[in-house]
């Protein structure tokens, strides 16, 4: 039987990135994926003839440019296209428009609040400063703070230096940032509720926290630390949908000689004498390798794909208690034409970009309350984009599709499990809300894909449908991710590693987790490092 140097479980974009860097170093690598297609949560699928949805993730900003450049992903078919203009709709009244041009944007903000228009400059500067610090850590392995290894001490000192570089006062602010709520953080800057609501909304995306919950400020930061061609905080679209990212990485991986097997779900990781030696597939096939890398979330890896007896004591519990609550839903809607929004000029740059149906801080908090009670709100927060307005490849000419990310959606309903009727009702709550701002929207609908956490879990294997493979709270960040003591991609079993979003730097289509894990693996195998160092715009 053929023995691989490495088997990677899961063809998510991180698994593929990991594979690419291992194969680049000359390893003989196999990626096994349970689905018939690759990509995990960075996937494009044609469910209705002519329409290509980004079924899960829908916008790109975190993808490390260094990796894009190093793996030559453009040559492998990836083109990222920025989109302009975002509109945030309040419960009523004049929407808040984010214009691409700074002066135009300033004039618009003044119409909402002169105070906030001015304050926005400081807000952006502060946020950029905070974001820069995190950005620097993205492609570095977190140090183990309890270790005395020279490498850990060096990295800890580096980290300390970065923090001290902020200045003492800012350091305190920064500490607060990790624990405060989005709303409290924004209170320091803004007085207008719609502006606050719009700025706070990235703080709740994908997380089981509300705008008033401690910890939501960091999530906000997590969503603005990416960039598109140096514009920090900007988001873009992958031409052909998010699957184009996974496909390009897969193509690079295959270019280095890597092998991908689809329809090959892993039943269990094979462990012999305390060492990972391969995997058993759902069809019973046994595959052997020197090392095994899991692209699955930490909870799934240890509670579903491993024999408890193979784990050192305590690990199973750690994994079981890993915070990975599902809180988001997604509705993908194929449209026969472009929706028109009330209270907006017929300016294609602003009414075809992204929309935030934020309502107000209060509305968002009420939606969170519903989630806590195991319900979905009839007034949810929705973040939408219309990729087809920018990308000619994802819908027939003149036709469109809208990606609706919904916060919140509970993984388990209070009144029982999800069923077809409730799933439909959830989808309807989203459509009804959009219809309120875009009369006639319903008549444009050609096809829709409704995804509650159940569908997301069943398809991508994200436990509870948690989009980040685990909450991004301070107790699960940096050297705490996924568990304290195991943040360096090495798992409690010898020759076993993790490379998914459950590891540092966490969720999002960044490819950083996969690349970081590859660097650690190659170090253990005493192979030359193939993973590039990150380079920045803001050095």
């Amino acid at each position: 039987m053929k023995k691989y140097d490495a088997i990677i479980i899961g063809a998510g974009h991180n698994g593929l990135t990991n594979g690419a860097y291992l194969a680049k170093a000359g390893l003989n690598v196999l990626v096994v994926e349970k689905n018939a297609y690759i990509g995990g949560a960075a996937v494009s699928r044609e469910l209705e003839n002519g329409w290509i949805y980004s079924n899960c993730s829908y916008v790109s900003s975190m993808l490390r440019q260094t990796i894009h450049r190093d793996l030559n992903l453009t040559k492998h078919g990836l083109v990222l296209v920025p989109y302009l203009g975002t509109v945030n709709f309040g419960d009523n009244g004049k929407p808040l428009i984010h214009y691409h041009d700074g002066n135009v944007g300033y004039n618009h903000l003044r119409q909402h609040s002169a105070h906030d228009a001015d304050s926005m400059f400081k807000f952006q500067a502060d946020l950029t400063r905070y974001a820069q610090l995190i950005r620097k850590t993205l492609m570095r392995t977190p140090p183990n703070p309890t270790s005395f290894k020279p490498r850990d001490i060096k990295e800890l000192l580096w980290l300390a230096k970065q923090f001290w570089g902020l200045g003492e006062k800012e350091l305190y602010e920064y500490m607060r940032f990790f624990t405060t709520s989005a709303e409290e953080f924004l209170d320091d800057y803004f007085e207008n509720d719609l502006i606050k609501a719009a700025m706070a909304s990235p703080g709740i995306i994908g997380t089981a926290l509300g705008v008033y919950s401690p910890g939501s400020a960091y999530i906000l930061l997590h969503h603005v630390m990416g960039d598109v061609d140096g514009n920090i905080g900007a988001w873009g679209l992958a031409r052909g949908g998010m699957g184009a990212i996974s496909n390009a990485i897969a193509s690079a991986f295959k270019g280095f000689g890597g092998e991908i097997r689809t329809n090959a779900g892993v039943q269990q990781v094979l462990v012999e004498n305390g060492k990972a030696v391969g995997v058993v597939l759902e069809n019973g096939d046994e595959l052997r390798a020197n090392i095994v890398v899991s692209n699955l979330d930490a909870k799934r890896t240890f509670t579903k794909c491993m024999d408890k007896k193979d784990l050192p004591p305590g690990i199973y519990e750690k994994a079981k208690n890993f915070k990975i609550r599902g809180s988001s839903g997604k509705v993908n809607i194929a449209l026969s034409g472009l929706p028109k929004f009330t209270n907006l000029p017929d300016n294609k740059f602003i009414n075809q970009g992204g929309q935030g149906f934020v309502g107000s801080l209060e509305t968002m908090e009420r939606a969170y309350d519903c989630w806590k009670h195991g319900l979905f709100s009839d007034d949810p927060f929705i973040e939408t984009v219309i990729p087809s307005a920018w990308d000619p490849t994802v819908a027939p000419p003149g036709k469109h599709w809208m990606s609706c990310f919904v916060q919140y959606c509970p993984p388990v309903l209070a009144n029982g499990g999800w069923n077809a009727k409730q799933k439909e009702a959830f989808g309807q709550s989203v459509i009804d809300k959009i219809e309120r701002y875009s009369p006639g929207f319903k008549d444009l609908i050609v096809h829709k894909e409704i995804r509650t956490p159940v569908e997301i879990e069943n398809e991508v294997g994200l436990t509870e449908g948690n989009i980040f493979q685990g909450e991004l709270t301070i107790d699960q960040l940096l050297f705490n991710r996924p568990f304290p003591g195991y943040a360096q991609y090495r798992m409690p079993i010898k020759n076993m590693y993790m490379c998914g979003a459950s590891t540092h730097p966490g969720g999002g289509v960044s490819a950083a987790c996969g690349a970081n894990a590859a660097r650690e693996i190659l170090m253990d195998l005493r192979k030359p490092n193939t993973v590039p160092e990150d380079s920045f715009y803001d050095e």
């Binding site: 083109v79 061609d229 740059f349 990308d391 380079s535």
Partner: protein
């Protein structure tokens, strides 16, 4: 001075003669220029950008976009001797250029220094159209002296021309009803009756300056606005948008195309000795054909080829992401031995690379190349020394640009 302050004074009338000329498409294109971002080209008012340069660049790479090439200079060279005269003028052999074909070429002084580059269209047996970025009529007239049957006519103002580039461009032209356009090969020309009227001729060439799939549309000025309207109607669902000079400049650097005033200094406008270039220096040796009959600059160019040019234009991939504007190049990190300079540079949003065109002393091309980059960070000047890698292929050359019919966008 008081007249200026006088509110009755008609400023518009007083300075009318200082207004720039507007192109045949201005009535339409100016509507898009909501930022009033104008610059000038050959006396014409010309858009730097319309809405946003990066957006327009992405229309070229992602959907489709139009570029107003009315200000580009166009000359008819007609008569029985047109071919011989042209073949004497330019460095490339055009004697085999078929009717309805286009080719890229350049022309030089007798010292082999490049005057300009452009394209030549063979429109019929004895009729050629030569295009160039800057006016060249005086030189062409001189070049025609001694040929019995050749006439050089400046038709720059008499043809309305629009470049139409981008992955969806072919689809839009098809939608406009231009049957068979998908079979038009690169550098070929087709003629269509405009709006089904055979008296109105629309000429389309599969040419452009973006390195992507694209066409150039040529029509009588009386039809210019109608052409614009037809095209924009057909292109509505394909994200058509005009692009200005900034976006064009981005696209052409990625394609590796040169510009006068940046990569080369037009020979006839050059003051200092050898501050102009030869085609070999510009890596355009493939445009020089020594097998054809004598042409302007032949002797000098043969020597340049044999001796090897002092400098050669190269494409560079530069480490990091700081634009190497006007940077000096060195053969080591120590920056002691100066071996060249950057001519054009940009961060390429499609390739995700820091790219540049540069002039490097030929003998150093195979060795290390380092760029000394100056930039500023919150008003503080910073300096960086980074390594550069020579790239042989254009940074951006999608297969669709060459395929016939063009590949699916």
């Amino acid at each position: 001075m008081n007249t200026l302050m006088n509110s009755n004074h008609d400023l518009a009338a007083a300075y009318e003669d200082e207004q720039l000329q507007v192109t045949h498409f201005h009535a339409r294109s100016s509507k898009f220029n909501i930022r009033e971002a104008w610059t000038a080209w050959n006396g014409y008012k010309f858009a730097d950008y319309y809405y946003d340069a990066q957006y327009e660049y992405f229309c070229v790479r992602n959907s489709c976009a139009t570029y107003d090439i009315c200000p580009m200079q166009k000359y008819y060279i007609t008569g029985k001797d047109a071919m011989t005269m042209l073949n004497r003028l330019v460095t490339r052999d055009i004697s085999k250029l078929n009717i309805n074909r286009v080719t890229y070429l350049c022309w030089c002084t007798d010292d082999g220094r490049m005057i300009d580059d452009g394209t030549v269209f063979r429109l019929s047996e004895d009729k050629y159209m030569l295009t160039s970025g800057s006016p060249c009529i005086a030189w062409f007239k001189k070049a025609a002296v001694g040929y019995d049957d050749v006439e050089v006519t400046d038709v720059s103002d008499e043809i309305a021309a629009l470049a139409f580039q981008g992955p969806t461009s072919c689809e839009v032209l098809k939608k406009m009803g231009l049957e068979g356009i998908e079979n038009l090969k690169p550098f070929n020309i087709m003629h269509f009756p405009f709006k089904g009227d055979s008296d109105k001729k629309l000429t389309i060439s599969r040419t452009g300056f973006t390195g992507d799939l694209g066409y150039e549309l040529w029509i009588d000025p009386s039809q210019a606005l109608d052409l614009w309207d037809e095209l924009y109607l057909a292109g509505e669902d394909y994200n058509i948008h005009p692009y200005g000079e900034t976006a064009l400049n981005m696209a052409r650097i990625e394609a590796g195309f040169i510009l006068p005033g940046t990569e080369f200094n037009e020979a006839l406008k050059t003051v200092h000795l050898h501050h102009d270039q030869t085609p070999f220096e510009l890596n355009l040796g493939w445009l020089v054909d020594f097998k054809k009959p004598h042409f302007n600059g032949r002797t000098a160019l043969l020597k340049d080829k044999t001796d090897g040019p002092e400098y050669t234009l190269v494409k560079l991939d530069i480490d990091g992401n700081k634009a190497a504007d006007d940077s000096y190049l060195y053969d080591s990190k120590k920056c002691k031995n100066h071996i060249g300079y950057i001519t054009s540079t940009m961060w390429s949003p499609v390739v995700k690379a820091n790219i540049a065109l540069a002039m490097v002393k030929t003998k150093y091309i195979k060795g290390q190349i380092w760029a000394e980059i100056y930039y500023s960070k919150e008003i503080r000047p910073k300096q960086k020394i980074v390594e550069c890698t020579v790239v042989n292929k254009p940074f951006w050359a999608p297969a669709r640009a060459r395929a016939t019919p063009p590949l699916r966008y």
